[in-house]
């Protein structure tokens, strides 16, 4: 049994509880792990006699929850997809979180230096004058256990997605959620702007999309 490299290395554990190395054909059986599918391990440098795999993070790509904040900083949607990923807090605390984040986001956007403007178009042409890129403000917040990504739409609605720290493609996920919002919330005649979102079809489509990601 050999280990191709030491230190950080990428492994894959299949459903027969066997470890595959990403950079060689070697494989080993493992005794203990609490992971599900793909994960990162640290290999003890003192090996080769005993293989000591330390789980750096529990595997998985789990989307924990979604929060939507309207442009005034009010919480209009809050959904938890995965129990146990985050602690439960009261609805009131969620409202405070939404309002606080909204404020912090606004301040950080002001901190962000504005990019230099491209030179104005030559007079006589019909192009509209260039405008500076809006400053983005706070985008990612990371703790030991979760990562929060914020997507701010052009109209000021914010989508906050709480995921595991190893989650990839959060941008794509969040854009897709924005799509669903544009379709099933904005095109619904019974939804009034800036009010809490209560749309069955949106819930249904969102749940099935997130379930698809969490079970991958």
């Amino acid at each position: 049994m050999k280990v191709a490299s030491k230190g950080h290395s990428l492994f894959r554990i299949d459903n027969t509880r066997r470890v595959w190395f990403s950079n060689s054909q070697d494989k080993i059986d493992i005794l203990e792990t609490n992971s599900k599918a793909e994960t990162r391990f640290m290999v003890s440098p003192s090996w080769p006699d005993t293989l000591n795999l330390t789980l750096v993070s529990p595997d998985s790509r789990t989307v924990f929850s979604l929060i939507i904040i309207n442009k005034a900083g009010g919480l209009i949607y809050n959904k938890t997809f995965h129990e146990g990923g985050l602690n439960k807090i009261s609805t009131n605390d969620y409202l405070v979180l939404a309002g606080t984040f909204h404020g912090v986001h606004a301040i950080t956007a002001r901190l962000n230096p504005v990019k230099p403007v491209a030179p104005p178009p030559t007079p006589g042409t019909n192009e509209p004058p260039n405008r500076p890129e809006p400053s983005s403000g706070l985008e990612v917040l990371e703790t030991e256990n979760f990562r929060m990504q914020c997507f701010n739409t052009l109209t000021g609605t914010k989508f906050l997605l709480f995921t595991e720290t190893t989650q990839t493609n959060v941008d794509v996920t969040i854009k897709r959620i924005y799509d669903l919002y544009a379709d099933y919330v904005m095109k619904n005649p019974f939804y009034s702007l800036e009010m809490p979102i209560r749309c069955d079809i949106f819930d249904r489509k969102l749940l099935s999309y997130i379930r698809e990601i969490n079970n991958r």
Partner: protein, 213 residues
């Protein structure tokens, strides 16, 4: 027949504005061109506003459904002639009995409006109700983005489509009352809708008479 005021022929100022090149709608062919498909998103927004507009002016759900029905009705009347016109010349015929009319609606009207046929056509099994027919759509396009709030669960916005169907029936001289009902079928078709077509008694009578002759 009362006489029309024949002022039109005497060349009175009509106040009609004609495009500068003189090409009005009458100079353009009426047949379908390839680019005639519309954006579903723009329709969804338009329909959403239509429902919101109707909702502001009514007191109850029934009234709202009636408003939507009326909005669709005039479309149905006009669509009937347009679609018959677009039929190939040999089959440019008027539907003359109930089944022919309903098939025309299920196929031509649905295909024109929604790009596919309606899912099913049924006759009421109740012998007491020979005047009732059902057009079934598993997933009405108009309802695709609409979540009806719980307190209005009776409402089905496809009442608009019911109005179109009613317009086609009325236009073809088969006066009927058409209503839309949600009959969700589990996870598969939560928005399944039945359009109940109830013809007036004289239509059924005429049908029986024509069948005999």
């Amino acid at each position: 027949m009362s006489s029309l005021p024949s002022s039109a022929s005497t060349g009175k100022e009509s106040g009609l504005r004609v495009p500068s090149n003189g090409k009005t709608i009458y100079h353009r062919p009426i047949n379908r061109t390839k680019t005639s498909e519309l954006s579903q998103a723009s329709f969804a927004f338009l329909f959403s506003e239509m429902v919101a507009y109707a909702q502001k002016r009514v007191k109850g759900i029934q009234e709202l459904e009636h408003k939507l029905n009326v909005q669709g009705h005039s479309i149905g009347i006009k669509l009937l002639d347009l679609l018959l016109y677009r039929e190939p010349a040999r089959t440019q015929l008027r539907p003359q009995n109930i089944v022919a009319l309903l098939h025309f609606i299920k196929q031509n009207v649905w295909l024109h409006l929604f790009g596919r046929q309606a899912d099913r056509l049924e006759k009421s099994t109740d012998a007491e109700k020979p005047d009732e027919y059902m057009i079934i759509d598993n997933e009405p396009l108009v309802n695709q983005y609409i979540s009806v709030p719980r307190e209005m669960s009776q409402l089905n916005c496809a009442a608009f489509v019911a109005g179109v169907v009613e317009g086609v029936c009325d236009g073809a001289d088969f006066p009927a009352r058409v209503t839309a009902h949600t009959v969700g079928e589990g996870e598969m078709w939560p928005g399944k809708t039945v359009f109940l077509v109830k013809f007036r008694s004289e239509v059924v009578e005429r049908e029986a008479f024509l069948a005999k002759s």
